[in-house]
Structures are given as C-alpha cells and as structure tokens.
C-alpha cells in the first residue's frame, strides 16, 4: 500500500463510522427513526387517503367562481291578451376586463418606466400605478366606443376599482341603454373578437304607461338571485342585477313572474381572472306570464274619467268577481321606474299623493250609497216595506239636533222608491232609528263590509270600520247615541269602507247575494260567485232595484249617470270628512260617491266610484262628479259588448328599443 492510500484509509476510518457488530444503543435510534418515518408515512396516507375530499373541495372553492344572470320576468296581459307589462331589451356596451390582463400589465410597466425615466421623486405606489394603468386601458376602450357613437363618456375610476375588487368576472358596463342607432353602429364597428361587446339585458316596459299603475306595481333591482339547478352554492358567486316586485301584482305574484336565473361556473387563475371555457352553464329562463282580469279599455276609460281629479274607480264582473278596472288617481308613469326612479320623480309622486292606491287603501264614509244597505236591513227586519211612507218637511230632529235633507228639495209623503231615487235623508233617519244600529251593523257585516276583500294586491286596507255601540265604547270611550244611528243609516259618522268594498257590495246586490270575492286573475272558466242569498222576497228586491233604476232615470244621477241603451241601477252619495293641516281644522271636504250595476235585466258589471274634494267646504255631489266616471266606463263596456273584440291575438310584445 502506498503512503497516500494509507493516508486515505486512515481518514476514511475517521470519517465513516462502521459497525461490525450489534450495538443495542444504535438499535434504539433505528426504532426511533422508524417510528418517525412511520408517523410521516401515516400522516401522508391520512392526508392523501382520508382527507382527499376535503382538500379537493377546498381547491374547488378556491379556484372556481360562479356568475348568476337573472331570467327575465314573465309578462302581464289583460283579459283580452293585450300586453300590459313586458320586457324591453336594453343594450349596453360592456368590457370584459379579464381579457385585458396583458394590457393592464403592459400599461403598468410603461407607467413605471415613464416615472423612472423622468426621475420623478413623487413616484406613485405600485397600487396607485396599477389603478392608473387600469383606468388608462379602460378609457382607451371607452374612447373607441366614443369615437364610434359620438359620445364623450369618461371612466369613473372609483366605480371601476369597486368593480375590480368585487365583480371582476362580470363585464364592466361602459355605456348603458344604447339607442338603436348606437347599438347598430357598434355591432358593425366593434371587432367580433374584442373585449368590447354589446350586451343585452331586459328591463320592464309598460306600453300603457300610467294605466293601471297601482294594480300592476313596479319592480326594483336586487342581487338576491338563486339558480336552483346550477351547482356551486358554496362558491364565490357574482350576481348580475335582477329585479324584484315591490308593489301591486309585481310584488304579489313575484314568485310566479320571477324568471329562473341562469349561470356559469368558471375556473379562475390565482389572480382571479377567468379561464375559458366555463365548467358549467345554464341559460336563464323567463318567468311565467300572467293574464289579469283587467280590461285595459275600461281601465283607460276609468282613468280618463278621473283625470285631474283625486279618487278611485272599481269595475267588477258581477258573476265572477273578476276586476275589470281598478283605477286610482293621481297615478304615475311606470316607465319612470326603469331603470330606476329618480329622486325628483319620487318626490313629485309623493307630493301629489299618487303612491296611495285609493281603491283598496283609501277608507271613506260611503254616504248615501249606504242607504241601499239600510234599505235591505229595513226590509229584512220587517220595519220597512216597499209601501213604507214617511212624511217629511226636509228636517228630522234627534234629541236636540236637527238633521236636514241634503238640498232639502223633497218634502211631503215619500215612499220607498222615491226615498232611494231622491236620496231622502229624513226617510232613512226615521226608519234607520227604528231598524237600530246593531241591526245595521249586523247587516253590514253580513255583506262583509267589516273585513278585507282578499284581493290579490298588497296593502289592502284593514282600517274599514263598521261601528256599533261596543266599537265606540272600545275605541272612543263614548256611548252610542241615537244621532250616531241616524248618521249610520245614511252612511256617515264613523262608518268607513274602501271603494273596492263598495264595488263588491254592489256586485253582491246585483246577484242577490251578500258576498263577492274579487280577483285580479282572469280565468275564462271561473265559476260564478256563490254566497249567502240577500234574503229578500222577490217583490222587495224588485222594489229596491226599481228605486235604484229611478236614481239613474229620474233621480240624483239622471244628468250624468245614464247611458243610452243600458238599464242601470245606481245610487249616488256625498259624504263629508274633516280636513286638518298642522293641527288646524281647515273645514269639511266632500266625497262624491256613485255605485251602480248594469244591465238590470241580467247584471254583468258593477262599479263604484269615489271622487275626493280637494277644497274645503266646496260641494262635490256624487251625481255630478262620480257618476260621469261610471258612465264613461259603462259606455266603453257597452260599446265593446255591442261590437265584440276580435279573437285574442297571440300576446306578443314588440320590443321598443328606444323610448
């Protein structure tokens, strides 16, 4: 062995420990190492075999994003298939930010380079430069659009940054609600494969503008979307704005009208940019359509009749209870609600009092229209007969209070029919006191005037009052006086009902029954309404109807209520209500009522109209103010009946691209 190799052997002997025999101490370390290795292997196996699903799920949630797109709402049609509420396509030009990743990066580098070259001491932070880069790139694309359609829009940096931070996977809207020309121009000028695209969404459109505004209701935007059949509820979800019904039918039947949201699931990269193609995709589906019982011709006739007035009118199908028209004035143009109601418009609506649906929410003393119920109560109780006569001098004294006839023009012997025809208060005071408040109240409840009708609209009033002694004691802590009964018998005092209730009452009387359940949904096969009979012998019922017919032919509604070729049974009414402002009594406001049904020989339509006086102590007689509105409805109804409409067309909505 050479000297060198001997030296190597010596060193190796020093460096490498060799074991030529069994050493228990080392064996112990072997065991420790083995145990540690086994622990590691076990841990690895545990993580890989048993916790795979958990990690897989965590990876999925981290790497996938879901985008939900609302489905358009269903349409609303009138009973003849005419579109009342549809969807108008709304075109916007949008920018898909996730396709601009490279451009953002290049712009960022460029900005940084410029600052460095300029040796600017106030060089912005990386975050600020990123913000500048993003705005610059987006503005560059917006300028392309501006050039194409001749606009001068600018990027809102704050809005853009908010979009980046919370909705990056959604397209960023550069310009909304394009006109048809702009939309057409962009289609031809934008390259097919550009991050700039024309995006179509839907917005509510109301071809009849303000007609039936309170019935149809309106929608507001929401991001509360759910896509039932799209998986990934646990994923980070971006939601495009949808709509939710806020009033009227839109709110009441929101679950039916609401479209089914569609959606897409994308895989994203660590920076949050989408990776195409999508993993899952569902198209949005339009909500179900609804056909309402409203006849838009009658509705418009009612609203035209009430134009420039404050009031409400309800027309109802006597046999089915379907509402043919339900108008409340003042109203508002529903198109003002799309895409959103401006503050100024909202204020204007509030100041005019147009938010209130007077037909179902307004409660008013029914005035002399209530005399029909007093007459029924009297006839049923036997106190009144068609032959009952009262000799009046135009005044009636109860206790120390003198009640006078309205106008005081009818004196002498008044019979049952004449009392209705001329709306003679003293006749009803006299017999009303004999009938009694309890009987009147019971009869009112028999006609369901004390409760909601159950119409399919939100906010139907619960404030209707059928007063009696117990009610007065409980609410006013006062006793019931004969004067209260006198007032009650002519529909004054504390009695309060809605115009809808009055229309239902009239429909019930027309059918010879006591309850009419109104509905706003049209069903050609809807059965006839059937409730407790009115409980009057034929001759008494006939006398009542004759009295009501004479109201229109000779009585208080003869000038403004009659319609040629139609036999109408009606009753006018005028009630008073105190007007207060800032704690100061301004005087009495008059309320003009008119309720009727027609044709007498086979009743089909019942109407109730109320017009609110707006000037204290100014006369608003029912015959002069409310009857013309009912006449306008009846004229339109008769005109349509004599000239039946053509077969319903297929309800198609012509999208209006610009308003």
């Amino acid at each position: 062995m050479s000297r060198a190799s001997a030296s190597h052997a010596d060193r190796s002997g020093n460096l490498v420990e060799t074991h030529t025999f069994f050493q228990p101490r080392v064996f112990f370390f072997y065991l420790v190492v083995l145990a540690l290795l086994l622990t590691l292997a076990g841990g690895l196996a545990y993580q890989q075999l048993f916790k795979t699903d958990i990690y897989h799920e965590a990876e999925r949630v981290q790497n996938q994003r879901r985008i939900l797109v609302p489905g358009p709402r269903g349409n609303l049609y009138d009973r003849e298939g005419r579109l009342l509420v549809g969807n108008r396509p709304r075109f916007a030009v949008v920018l898909y930010l996730d396709e601009l990743r490279t451009e953002f990066r290049k712009q960022y580098i460029q900005i940084r380079k410029n600052y460095r070259e300029a040796n600017d001491k106030d060089m912005p932070s990386a975050r600020q430069m990123e913000r500048i880069a993003r705005t610059t790139v987006v503005q560059r694309y917006l300028d392309q659009v501006n050039r194409a359609i001749g606009r001068t829009a600018h990027v809102d940096t704050t809005d853009l940054m908010r979009h980046f931070s919370s909705e990056m996977l959604l397209p960023y809207t550069l310009i909304d609600d394009l006109s048809p020309e702009e939309y057409a121009h962009l289609i031809e000028h934008l390259p097919v494969r550009s991050p700039l695209q024309v995006y179509a969404s839907s917005t509510r459109a109301y071809p009849y503008k303000a007609a039936a505004a309170h019935v149809l209701g309106f929608v507001s935007t929401t991001v509360d979307l759910e896509a039932a059949d799209l998986p990934g509820n646990d994923l980070t979800t971006f939601k495009m704005k949808g709509t939710v019904g806020k009033d009227g039918i839109e709110r009441q039947f929101d679950n039916i009208l609401q479209g089914q949201a569609g959606g897409t699931i994308f895989r994203v990269d660590p920076a949050g940019y989408r990776i195409n193609p999508p993993l899952e995709k569902r198209l949005p589906v339009q909500g179900k359509n609804l056909t309402l019982s409203i006849d838009i011709d009658l509705q418009q006739a009612a609203e035209e009749g009430l134009l420039d007035l404050i009031g409400a009118a309800v027309a109802i199908d006597v046999n089915t209870g379907e509402i043919l028209a339900l108008a409340s004035l003042p109203n508002y143009d529903l198109n003002d609600f799309t895409p959103r109601l401006s503050f100024a418009k909202a204020q204007q609506i509030a100041e005019s009092g147009a938010w209130t649906n007077r037909a179902i929410y307004g409660v008013y003393p029914p005035g002399s229209t209530f005399k029909i119920l007093t007459a029924i109560a009297g006839l049923r109780s036997g106190i009144l007969t068609p032959a009952s006569v009262y000799d009046t001098d135009g005044s009636f004294t109860v206790g120390r209070r003198v009640f006078r006839d309205h106008g005081g023009c009818v004196t002498g012997e008044i019979d049952f029919r004449l009392a209705i025809e001329q709306s003679v208060n003293t006749y009803f005071y006299y017999y009303g006191l004999q009938i009694g408040a309890e009987t009147l109240a019971a009869e009112s409840r028999r006609f369901h005037l004390h409760e909601q009708t159950g119409i399919e609209l939100p906010n139907e009033s619960r404030r209707m009052i059928v007063p009696d002694a117990a009610w007065k004691k409980k609410v006013k802590q006062e006793s019931w006086y004969p004067g209260d009964t006198a007032n009650f018998s002519i529909g004054q005092g504390d009695l309060q009902i809605t115009p809808l209730q009055m229309a239902c009452f009239m429909a019930s009387v027309a059918r010879g029954q006591t309850q009419t359940k109104p509905t706003l949904i049209h069903d050609p096969k809807r059965p006839k309404q059937n409730s407790e009979p009115i409980g009057l012998p034929a001759d008494q019922y006939q006398a009542l109807i004759e009295g009501m017919e004479r109201v229109v032919t000779k009585g208080t509604a003869r000038r403004f209520g009659a319609v040629e070729g139609l036999r109408i049974a009606g009753k006018t009414g005028t009630a008073q209500r105190e007007r207060w402002k800032d704690g100061k009594r301004l005087g009495m406001l008059e309320l003009a009522w008119y309720a009727c049904f027609a044709p007498i020989e086979k009743p089909e339509i019942a109407i109730a109209v109320i017009v609110e006086g707006d000037t204290p102590d100014e006369s608003y007689a029912g015959g002069a103010y409310a009857a013309p509105v009912a006449r306008a409805i009846l004229q339109k109804w008769l005109e349509k009946k004599q000239r039946p409409a053509a077969a319903p067309k297929e309800p198609i909505f012509k999208p209006v691209l610009s308003q």
């Binding site: 048809p180 121009h185 031809e188 012509k654």
Partner: protein, 276 residues
C-alpha cells in the same frame, strides 16, 4: 459517434434556432417581414389570376362567330337595360336629395364603386376570405363594404399595395347590423361556422319576437344602414328559422346566404367617398 448523433438532430436544432430567433425579433421587424411576405406573394397571385383570365379568353375564342354575335346582341340589350336603369337611378337620386333637403334628413354616406377580380379564395371553417386584384393602388380602404350581384359579399379586412383581402359575409369574423325587409328594428347578423364546400350560412341574433320565418316562408335580411358601414337595403340572405331564446327576450335565427359566395369571380368594393 457523437457527430453522427448531432447530424441526426441537426434539423431539430435548426428549427429550434429559427423559432428562437423569430421569438427574439422585435415586433416591428416581424410585422415588416409579414407584410413583405404578403407583398412579395401578391404579384404571384395576381399573375396567376391574369393567366386564368387569359385562359378564359382563349377558351372564349373557341366559340363560333354565331355564338359571339348572339352574345354581343345579348350584351347590347343588357347595356340598353342598364342605361335605362342608370337614368332612372339618377332621377330617383335627385328626388331623394330633394326630399332629404326638404325634410332635413341626413344623407347616407356615399360610395365610389370599384369593381375588382377575385384572384384567390381561401375558405375554412374559421374564415371565409377572398383576395381581390385591387388594393391601395385603387384607393381601397380597410373596412369598406364589398358587394356582388347577390347582395353583400363581405368587408375589406386587409389592404395591400396591389391586392386586398375581403372577409366574406359567411365568415364568423363578419358582423353587421341587419333588418328584416319591411322592418326597422336592427338586429345582429354574424357569419356562421361554414365547413368547406357546404352551403354558406350565418346567424342572426337579437331578433324581435314578432318576426317569424320558416324554410317555407323565409324573410329577406338586408343591411340596416344604421351601422355606418353598409348602405341600407343590400341583401344579406334569407332568414329560414327563428327560434325564441330561453330568456324570452329575442329570437335567434339561421340565415341562408347566396350559394354564389363560394364561387365569386368579380366583386365591387364600395369605397366611402370621405375616405379619399
């Protein structure tokens, strides 16, 4: 042995080097090379086209004198008819101008017609193009509409010195604002995925719901004129189906295009006058 192995790998190494050099080249140089390549290629294509024309010429020379006389007579008739149409058009144009000035309507952009021979057709599922024998030398500009006897042929997508590339209306890269004849609401037309030798088709989107079209009752689709590129009223094709989209907002439809698009020999470029 190693040198033999290198010899075997030499083509791959060369390719790798070329690719590397191409990747490292500045963008400006790459663009210049691309343009130069096409410009050098253009004379070959144009020459081939002229050769085809010559071939056609000699083919026609084989016709008898009787045939040629008959063709000449037909052509004379056609000329007379066209002369008449030109006069009528001039009269109508005068009326339109008067109405426009009376009603203060904006005038549609005017165009200069530039007929051009097709020198090459380039069809695939992803694009449908033709190369025409006129380019910058005839003032043709990018984006100009191109028409043929059947209506819209396409749009100029690239202009070179002596040639231009026309993206045909059947190409998925062409989109334009269209209307159904007799309607004013614009919709979006886009060429479809058209395999070679298949009848050309396109698609129409954002079609209003009250427009109906079937194969037995097709609707003529024409340019809207609203997009600012194509003049109004040019035939694009016929809508043969219209199906409502699930969201209930619009319909989408299939458009059958003129089958002559796949055998174009002559087109007319409408060069906007303001472009010159």
């Amino acid at each position: 042995m190693p040198s033999r192995r290198f010899d075997q790998a030499r083509p791959f190494a060369t390719l790798a080097i070329v690719v590397l050099v191409w990747l490292l080249l500045p963008v400006a140089v790459k663009s210049f090379l691309r343009v130069s390549f096409f410009e050098f290629e253009a004379p070959l294509e144009v020459s081939a086209s002229y050769a085809r024309d010559l071939q056609e010429y000699w083919g026609l020379r084989l016709h008898s004198n009787t045939d040629l006389i008959a063709a000449g007579r037909d052509m004379a008739r056609l000329h007379a008819a066209y002369d008449n149409n030109i006069q009528q058009n001039a009269e109508l144009r005068g009326q339109i101008e008067r109405l426009e000035s009376l009603l203060r309507l904006p005038s549609f952009p005017e165009y200069r017609s530039e007929p051009a021979r097709v020198v090459r057709r380039d069809f695939s599922a992803w694009w449908q193009r033709v190369v025409i024998r006129k380019g910058k030398n005839f003032g043709i500009v990018e984006g100009s509409p191109v028409v043929f006897t059947g209506g819209v042929a396409g749009r100029v997508s690239e202009v070179r010195a002596t040639t231009a590339i026309v993206e045909l209306v059947s190409s998925p890269n062409v989109r334009l604002a269209a209307v159904v004849e007799g309607d004013t609401r614009p919709m979006s037309y886009q060429g479809g995925i058209n395999p070679s030798f298949a009848p050309p088709k396109g698609n129409v989107e954002f079609m209003p719901l009250d427009i109906f079209a079937t194969r037995t009752a097709p609707r003529r689709l024409v340019t809207s004129g609203l997009g600012g590129v194509f003049p109004p009223g040019l035939t694009i094709g016929y809508v043969v189906s219209a199906d409502p989209s699930t969201d209930g907002l619009f319909k989408t439809g299939e458009v059958e295009l003129d089958s002559r698009l796949s055998s174009l020999t002559e087109v007319t470029v409408l060069v906007p006058l303001e472009a010159n």
